[in-house]
């Protein structure tokens, strides 16, 4: 590496191609390409869920097993082997309610993605705001923020989420009226956002701190450029990469957290399809009907894995030093 730098420094302008687009660079690395493909597939499935469901002729809420005899046993378990997998129900039936697993999975992607993307957006926005501002202002603001983040990071997040999400819910919904679905989503996004922004803010703060001392910022300030110009024109462009990486990494993290909450029973309620809740139901019956835990479990694994791989690929593409 070091030597490459030197070469660039020799006074003859080096003939090197302008760096190719991020997408191209991500795809250059095979795993990156595959990951991108899988992620894209999931996104596509999420978007086309209604269409696919229509073609497939099932919906995620109808209790097929209960309404049509011969599908579920008296105990509510699918009668057909492997969790009732058949030409009609590709991934089988849900024990008890007898809903169609395939469409549930399909719509489950939407739930996960909606919450994950929303949370990622909010936290990224908050993180950038806080991180850049604090990093640029420094001084007392910085100290206060440092302390604040220490406090917030000391909290056992999962416990808080467990304890708070019902509270918030009951705060927002008045008894007597049915709780709208968007409310559940809102609540989750809120609780995630409350803590999710800190890591990004911390790392940005560090970056901006070092950038702030860089000569080009100094010269901008010496030229009488205002804080706004410095932040927007000089600093932000230099943390773009960091943002992108964080955002890509944040999405799977939130998908996982959402699943955890639903698994523990404080996430998304019936009848909204949700992977975490499917897994927890699966864990109840997985001795009798392993398939019902297998599908959401593996789907979730693939989903998160793909996103993480993509995140790595993006980081490597943006930062060749990390790529090695």
């Amino acid at each position: 590496m070091a030597v490459v730098e030197h070469v660039a420094a020799s006074d003859a302008p080096p003939v090197r191609p302008a760096p190719p687009g991020l997408l191209r660079r991500v795809c250059r690395d095979r795993t990156g390409a595959v990951a991108l493909g899988v992620v894209a597939l999931f996104l596509l499935l999420a978007l086309a869920a209604p269409l696919i469901a229509a073609l497939y002729g099932k919906n995620p809420t109808e209790h097929y097993g209960q309404n049509a005899p011969g599908l579920l046993s008296d105990g509510g378990l699918p009668i057909a082997p492997n969790g009732g997998i058949s030409g009609e129900f590709w991934f089988g039936l849900e024990p008890g309610l007898g809903r169609d697993v395939f469409t549930q999975l399909l719509y489950g992607i939407r739930t996960s993605l909606l919450i994950a993307f929303a949370s990622a957006t909010v936290t990224t926005a908050l993180g950038v705001l806080a991180g850049v501002a604090v990093g640029y202002l420094g001084g007392i603001t910085d100290r206060v923020f440092g302390f604040l983040s220490n406090v917030l990071l000391a909290f056992p997040t999962l416990l808080l989420l467990l304890a708070l999400s019902p509270v918030i819910q009951s705060r927002l919904v008045d008894p007597g009226t049915a709780e709208p679905e968007w409310m559940q989503f809102l609540v989750l996004v809120l609780v995630f956002s409350a803590f999710g922004w800190i890591p990004l803010a911390l790392s940005l703060r560090a970056t901006v701190r070092s950038l702030r001392e860089r000569d080009f910022v100094q010269s901008a300030r010496a030229m009488g450029a205002g804080g706004f110009h410095v932040v927007v024109r000089e600093l932000l462009p230099n943390v773009r990469a960091q943002l992108l990486v964080h955002a890509t990494m944040a999405v799977p993290a939130f998908v996982a957290s959402e699943a955890v909450l639903s698994f523990l029973g404080v996430g998304i309620n019936e009848p909204v399809p949700d992977w975490g809740r499917m897994i927890s139901r699966g864990s109840e019956v997985f001795r009798a009907d392993p398939t019902y835990m297998f599908f959401p479990g593996v789907a979730l694994l693939l989903f998160v894995l793909a996103f993480n791989l993509l995140g790595d690929a993006v980081r490597d593409a943006l930062d060749p030093r990390a790529a090695r």
Binding site: F155, P156, A163, L264, S280
Partner: protein, 330 residues
């Protein structure tokens, strides 16, 4: 070094104070009425009011908080719903009206499980994470590297409850390769203790080791480029020895930091793991407290967890300072 340590400890204390205040405000602001939860079945409003008084919930929040703090420092007398008062000695984290037991006692009852779980998991985490990280770094760019990185990434992506159930199913119930996950006090039967905790250790350790492994790999790779490592090799030191003596030392900082964080987090109670394996540790205690609207218990658990995090992060910083003369000797 001493001044550094003192400064660090003061900081930690400040953080703890803030955490306690925040937790207090957060939970006692909740709509759920702890008095109702604590009072018996047919409590009419009058009785609930009485209970609320005996719980001190009628006091202004600030007073409650100061009482709480004094309780932690000096212990305090607490009135149970039946009017009987009992002394809860320091560090008093309040009194659980659900269990009719001082929260501190209850936590102490559950702590051994969590500590065993955390300790084992951490041990696995360090050995496995550092091992894979080191090998991957030494062999970086090779197939081994990609294999290990992929493996750890799976660890980072898999859901611990999914893995936990599948592992239990595959290794315990169907094949019986491993003993049933359960906690036996190590004092009574070390073998049973280790056996019962083995699977939880592995699962928890593996899932948490992913981040650690990835960090150690990148850290080691970065430090390998340091000039002083090159110097060491220039001295005629073998590659491995140079890395063990110099690279590892140089990469230690962030790893220790992460380890501190992990340790704190795990000791605060691994809620999911304890649920999946039916271990009755602090995490389970906390979740049950949440379900039972047992506010004192919840706050107590939160504080304990926060304490562990703060403590171990501070500890990590001290270790780092001790490792790096530039900080130690200023």
């Amino acid at each position: 070094m001493l001044s550094f340590a003192l400064r660090r400890i003061l900081q930690a204390l400040a953080v703890l104070a803030a955490v306690s205040a925040a937790a207090f405000a957060l939970f006692y602001a909740a709509p759920a009425d702890p008095a109702r939860a604590a009072c018996g079945p047919r409590c009419d409003t009058g009785q609930v009011a009485a209970v609320r008084a005996s719980m001190g919930l009628d006091q202004p929040l600030l007073t409650q908080y100061t009482d709480y703090l004094t309780g932690i420092v000096a212990g305090r007398d607490i009135q149970d719903v039946d009017g009987s008062t009992l002394h809860c000695d320091a560090p008093c984290l309040g009194y659980s009206y659900r269990l009719h037991q001082p929260v501190t006692e209850a936590l102490v009852d559950h702590l051994p499980v969590t500590v065993s779980l955390a300790a084992g998991a951490l041990a696995f985490l360090v050995v496995f994470g550092l091992g894979t990280g080191f090998v991957a770094a030494l062999r970086h760019g090779t197939r081994t590297d990609r294999l290990l990185s992929g493996f750890t990434l799976i660890g980072a992506s898999v859901q611990i409850y999914f893995l936990g159930y599948v592992a239990q199913w595959g290794l315990v119930y169907t094949t019986g390769l491993l003993p049933l996950p359960s906690y036996t006090p190590p004092a009574t039967d070390p073998a049973a203790w280790a056996g019962g905790m083995l699977l939880p250790w592995i699962v928890l350790g593996f899932v948490n080791s992913a981040v650690f492994a990835r960090l150690s790999r990148s850290q080691l790779l970065e430090t390998m480029d340091e000039e002083y490592v090159r110097t060491a090799r220039g001295k005629g030191l073998g590659r491995l020895r140079a890395h063990l003596k110099y690279t590892a030392r140089g990469a230690a900082g962030p790893l220790v930091q992460l380890l501190g964080l992990e340790a704190g987090a795990l000791l605060g109670g691994a809620v999911i793991t304890e649920t999946v394996f039916g271990l009755n540790g602090v995490g389970r205690f906390a979740t049950e407290a949440v379900e039972g609207q047992d506010l004192p218990a919840v706050v107590g658990a939160v504080l304990l967890a926060a304490c562990f995090v703060v403590l171990f992060v501070a500890l990590a910083d001290l270790v780092i300072a001790w490792l790096d003369p530039r900080i130690r000797l200023g």
